[in-house]
């Protein structure tokens, strides 16, 4: 029997980016908010101080900041009919844990999706006709448009101090920015970061090939910044320890460096860390959440009653909590009915390693940041005519070399022995003269009928709850897309003067042991039709109106960009709807 805590207006599950944004917005609205976070409290100077934060072995190799699979994990299989097995060490993605969530260890690549991404099925059907899309592709429109989200993208970017060069200011294309982006109401809050030699060379070659390169929008500060909440960030030192690491210099946008200093002292906010929410509690009708139940580290179970429940955990944990709590109809791939677990996606990433003449090229790859680099967007979304190519989707590509850290940055030609004196010599010879982006080709993954999440019938966590089961494989559309993009990408390095470009295409089957990105998306998607979406356009559950679900969980399919900018924009969009509409009249914001 759970011990019952005093009721709160709002219970938020997870205190990462979206939990922090919602907590700050809803406490500003005068509500009494508790955030319940599975992992520990984290703070810059006490948890990732500069005298040990740059430890590649501890953070990158040994996964210091991430959830330990022993605490909970997922099972994985490629196809329906296979037996899924538990993931015992993280590979393809890295589930965050602890205050700040993925916002602590991200690279801070802060993109907006294309306007056409939000109306994807309508757009592609109009341009190419319905038969152009694979029959089992389940992409759909989001229910929100780019114009709806623009003010909220803007809020998130100004919160983060995003550094970049605008490409489209109120409809006017700007030199040096991304000409394909949707119109922005004002410039980025900070100028783009200074580019090292590698990205500069890449951009020159891209221009020579007729492309329009631009700096990647970055949450690593190009200069000191004070955000609208009054919180300050320092200038990036280009140390190259961003992704998988926490920034020790107050230089990378994270909940810790942008919101928490304002949120934590509020008297109407409470944080319970090291507490794992085990279910959303529903009243007997199943149509209303009464709060959540969580366990602390001593195994004691607590009930936290609340008027409003916000799921703000990592994508797949939101889906798992909905399935475990019987919120919404679980997706059944056989009948193609149900919504929770449906339209689950990841990303389609590939890379090139480009070897240059070491007597002429010294790239100093260690001078870097998580989101530094020059990109092109000619092959993203529907920025090009897909008609001749027989696939849909795309991605940005760029020389975004996030680090030159010693354990991982050992680029050698493929025929080099894997160890020994020859390998060492090759590493020494090539370290300074090789370009290898952290993420070179950042392709979309669209949604399919047979890629989904459900509850595993066999494997359970330490509390006896079924693990979430991922069924995922690459489809021909994505593999074709990747081949096309990777070839285009390689051409740019050849143009830049590389003596040799080694292409590393993404190939099927989907491999859960190979890191791509942590951008798991979907599973409880937003939309206009309750038959094909778990959430309405405000991220409100169709079935339980006092439950809102944040994060990339709501993406109907994944675009060819990093998701956090859109995750932040959606959080502000949803918070605005809660504040301006829901609180005045609690109930469904959309009547289907």
């Amino acid at each position: 029997m759970a011990r019952k805590l005093p009721a709160r207006d709002v219970a938020i599950v997870g205190l990462g980016w979206t939990g922090s944004i919602l907590a700050n917005e809803l406490t500003d609205a005068g509500l009494n908010v508790v955030a319940i976070e599975r992992g520990p409290w984290r703070d810059t100077a006490t948890h990732y101080a500069p005298n040990y934060a740059q430890d590649e072995l501890r953070y990158r190799i040994r996964h210091e900041l991430f959830l330990r699979p022993a605490q909970t994990t997922f099972t994985f299989r490629n196809k329906h009919g296979d037996t899924a097995l538990p993931i015992r060490t993280w590979g393809a993605f890295m589930p965050p844990n602890g205050v700040g969530g993925g916002g602590v260890h991200w690279n801070a690549e802060t993109w907006r999706f294309l306007p056409s991404d939000f109306v994807l099925r309508t757009h592609l059907t109009q341009r190419y006709g319905a038969p152009f899309l694979p029959a089992d592709m389940t992409i759909q429109d989001w229910g929100v448009t780019y114009a709806d989200l623009e003010p909220h993208y803007d809020r998130f970017e100004y919160l983060c101090g995003t550094c970049g060069t605008a490409g489209n200011l109120q409809g006017k294309i700007q030199a040096g920015g991304n000409p394909f982006e949707g119109p922005r109401s004002r410039p980025y809050p900070n100028p783009a970061q200074q580019q090292p030699f590698g990205p500069t060379l890449f951009a020159k070659a891209a221009r020579e090939l007729g492309y329009q390169p631009f700096p990647q929008p970055s949450g690593n500060m190009s200069q000191p910044y004070r955000n609208p909440l009054g919180v300050r960030l320092g200038p990036c030192t280009y140390c190259g320890f961003c992704e998988w690491f926490a920034c020790a210099n107050y230089s990378k946008a994270s909940p810790q460096t942008t919101i928490l200093p304002v949120l934590m002292p509020k008297r109407n906010f409470q944080l319970r860390d090291n507490s794992e929410v085990t279910r959303i509690n529903l009243d007997p009708s199943g149509k209303r959440a009464t709060g959540v139940t969580f366990v602390d580290t001593s195994g004691t179970e607590w009930e936290q009653p609340a008027e409003l429940v916000i799921l703000a955990a990592y994508t797949i944990f939101n889906v798992q909590l909905m399935l475990l709590s019987k919120v919404g109809r679980p997706y059944d791939p056989q009948s193609n009915q149900g919504v929770v677990g449906r339209n689950f996606t990841h990303q389609t990433i590939s890379d090139c390693t480009s070897f240059f003449d070491r007597s002429k090229f010294v790239f100093n790859p260690f001078v870097s940041s998580g989101a530094i680099g020059m990109c092109i967007d000619e092959f993203n979304g529907d920025n090009f005519d897909h008609g001749p190519h027989g696939f849909v989707g795309g991605g940005y590509m760029g020389q975004v070399q996030t680090n030159g850290r010693p354990i991982e940055t050992t680029p050698v030609p493929p025929e080099t022995p894997k160890w020994g004196a020859e390998w060492k010599r090759a590493v020494r010879d090539n370290y300074q003269s090789t370009l290898k982006p952290g993420t070179g080709v950042h392709g979309s993954m669209y949604s399919y009928r047979d890629v989904y999440v459900d509850l595993d019938p066999t494997f359970r966590d330490r509390l006896g709850r079924p693990l979430a089961r991922i069924t995922m494989d690459f489809h021909d559309n994505e593999l074709k897309q990747n081949r096309f993009l990777t070839d285009k990408f390689a051409e740019i390095f050849q143009q830049a003067g590389a003596q040799r470009v080694v292409k590393e295409y993404r190939q099927g089957p989907y491999d859960i042991t190979k890191y791509q990105t942590t951008h798991l998306c979907g599973g409880a998607v937003m939309g206009n039709d309750p038959k094909t979406s778990a959430l309405n356009r405000y991220l409100q559950s169709w079935d339980v109106p006092n439950l809102f679900v944040m994060g990339a969980t709501a993406f109907p399919q994944n675009a060819g960009y990093n998701p956090t900018g859109t995750v932040g924009a959606l959080a502000y969009w949803s918070a605005a709807a809660i504040r301006s509409q829901y609180l005045k009249n609690p109930g469904p914001l959309v009547h289907a």
Binding site: D43, T44, T46, A49, P50, Y52, P224, P261, P265
Partner: protein, 418 residues
């Protein structure tokens, strides 16, 4: 109103005690009206300026002014008394005259002398009206029944009679006398600094008996394991390179383009100066900027000094990512070491403490970030800390005596209670 109810209950309980009741009746004649909003509001503000809550509230408790906070003094522990209007354990039965005597003369109602942990030598400069306003405000706070034994000093300091000698040596009664040659703003600042603000309680060097060294007013003093820096206009050691606006911004927000408040000053900013009016903070700044500094002609150590060479290497490796190679830091986020007087103060207490243990700056409504310096004590040896602090104390225009490994060792021992 629960507070009203609790006051009634407290009054009823106290009513059983004939003596207390008599005292209350006797006091009733000369009390300010409990509805004098203007006086009470002014008293609330002055209570903030005087930072009464800092000592008279136990940080572990929600009972404002109920006392019980141990105050570390060089002579032992004094525990702050309950100054809520509770009739039995607070000051509810005191007359305004008795309150004034405690605040401005250091005498309790039976005539016994208070220890100067209560900064009455400063409060003596306050006007009778201001003290009366504080009293009027304190009458309105919730009475808390909380008995406190204040005097926990060891022999012989526990003998209050000894305070007669102390008072004779160090206590100068008399309210603040404005200097007719200075501006009204300067005089307001002087009143606040020397009176209710009691800045010298921490920032003025003390004699062995804990009295102010008056000829060194505001020139810095080690207290509670920190060095309260020189806040005169001294160019090298004080506020000489700060503008009036820099001082004002620091007091208001805990931060300015050079520095951030941590340690006891963080507490002062949070509880007191961040809540003061801009006009008063500007007056304080004007006054402090007019205070003469020390006469020093120290020369920095040569860059070739072995400690400087080692210190420069450690600084470059561990400190420069945030503080920059030239010590300039990041405005409002990372202190500018080239302009931080606490770096080169004659006593390195704060410098060593911050390097060894780290420190968090204060977060305020205007500057909520509250950035922190991480601890390096676990990573660096005594000799390494001595080298890097010596380097910082003798770079970018600073000149201060070198520190040795044994200085660092001593600091570590003191901080660990050894």
């Amino acid at each position: 109103m629960p507070e009203t109810v609790s006051r009634l209950v407290a009054a009823a309980v106290a009513g059983l005690l004939a003596t207390a009741c008599a005292a209350r009746l006797a006091a009733a004649d000369n009390l300010a009206s409990e509805q004098d909003f203007g006086l009470i509001e002014r008293g609330r503000y002055l209570t903030t300026v005087a930072d009464c809550a800092a000592c008279h509230t136990d940080p572990a408790s929600n009972d404002l002014f109920a006392g019980g906070r141990p105050i570390e003094t060089p002579f032992g522990k004094v525990v702050s008394p309950n100054i809520t209007p509770d009739l039995e354990t607070g000051i509810g039965t005191w007359t305004d005259a008795q309150f004034d005597a405690a605040v401005r003369q250091g005498r309790d109602p039976d005539g016994a002398r208070l220890y100067p942990a209560m900064p009455f030598p400063y409060y003596a400069r306050m006007t009778a009206e201001d003290v009366r306003a504080i009293r009027a405000y304190l009458r309105t706070v919730a009475p808390v029944h909380h008995p406190v034994e204040s005097n926990q000093l060891p022999f012989p300091y526990d003998i209050r009679a000894g305070m007669a000698l102390w008072d004779a040596l160090y206590f100068e009664p008399g309210t603040f006398k404005p200097d007719p040659h200075k501006s009204a703003q300067w005089n307001r600042g002087a009143y606040l600094v020397r009176g209710p603000g009691h800045c010298g309680a921490c920032h003025t060097p003390k004699s062995v008996l804990g009295g102010d060294e008056k000829h060194q007013a505001l020139q810095g003093y080690s207290i509670q394991g920190w060095f309260a820096p020189n806040i005169t206009n001294d160019l090298a050691l004080g506020l000489g390179r700060w503008s009036v606006q820099d001082v004002q911004t620091y007091l208001k927000s805990g931060h300015n383009r050079f520095a951030g408040a941590s340690g006891p000053m963080a507490e002062e900013v949070a509880d007191s100066s961040s809540r003061m009016s801009d006009a008063d903070l500007q007056s304080i700044a004007v006054y402090l900027k007019d205070q003469p500094g020390e006469k020093t002609s120290a020369k920095p150590l040569a860059a070739s000094d072995p400690q400087m060479v080692a210190g420069a290497a450690i600084y470059s490796d561990l400190c420069s990512a945030c503080h920059a190679q030239d010590g300039s830091g990041v405005a409002y986020l990372v202190p500018n070491l080239s302009l931080a007087s606490s770096v080169s103060s004659r006593e390195p207490t704060s410098l060593l403490r911050v390097v060894i243990h780290g420190a968090r700056t204060v977060g305020t409504p205007t500057e909520p970030t509250a950035p922190a310096m991480p601890a390096f004590g676990w990573q660096l040896t005594d000799a390494q800390i001595a080298a890097v602090t010596t380097y910082v104390r003798n770079s970018w225009g600073h000149a201060a005596p070198a520190l040795s490994a044994s200085d660092v060792h001593k600091r570590r021992s003191l901080d660990s209670g050894g």
